[in-house]
Symmetry: C2
């Protein structure tokens, strides 16, 4: 039983400009910014904002040829993915693979704020780019 | 201070067929179905699944000329909106209007499972169709 999702970890939102987006999320929505990080491997600068025990992750592309840059060019700013929190990402990923789901990441990799993450392909996830996240201890 | 979002209430996912989608969410993701309802005013049949204290709301259109029907025709199945939970929807909606956000619903209306809901327009919400939800007592 490593498959159970304990909560929505975050929704990922693609934005053109982080600081402009933060005006909406910090000033208007009164969310608290808790983390900011350049993730070179994913081609993004990202921030995390708290919403209770959940988060919003804002993603700004480091360039037009990154996945988020291409997403923005095609669809414009908006919801990019949903991430569910798990306590044992290795077991969960194995269970989802065994259930026949198509994985983008065959093995967990490093994510934001020292988490371990893996993405499921939208093709077998109802059209939703879906991430599973095992947070670092303390988060 | 009626504006604070206490958590992600749900992510709304547009689907072509509820029962087919439930195979993914119930069988593969092992989420628990907690509610099913036809919401004629919104032109959808919807279900709620628990993910910890958050939910996934699956939305199937009652016909092609409904908002979700048109969304599916244009973009296909996938993430449709995000909903944040609030404790005082009237105060929150007023504060967001005063902040200059464009509202789809000037006043809260009845939502799923006896909640009160209002939608913010994506144009001033970072491209994200955003809902605020005050759940019925007991949910």
């Amino acid at each position: 039983m490593g498959r159970v999702f304990s909560r929505v970890d975050h929704i990922g939102v693609a934005v053109e400009d982080l600081d402009a987006a933060l005006e909406l999320y910090e000033r208007d929505y009164e969310m608290t910014l808790v983390h900011r990080e350049v993730i070179e491997a994913q081609g993004v600068e990202a921030v995390l904002l708290d919403v209770g025990e959940n988060h919003v992750e804002l993603l700004a592309p480091l360039g037009p040829d990154t996945p988020v840059g291409k997403y923005l060019a095609k669809r414009g700013p908006g919801m990019h993915h949903v991430a569910y929190q798990v306590s044992d990402i290795d077991a969960t990923l194995a269970a989802l693979r065994d259930a026949g789901l198509r994985l983008i990441d065959e093995h967990p990799r490093d994510g934001i704020r020292d988490s371990r993450v893996a993405f499921l392909h939208p093709a077998t996830a109802g059209g939703v780019l879906t991430e599973i996240v095992q947070p670092a201890k303390g988060h």
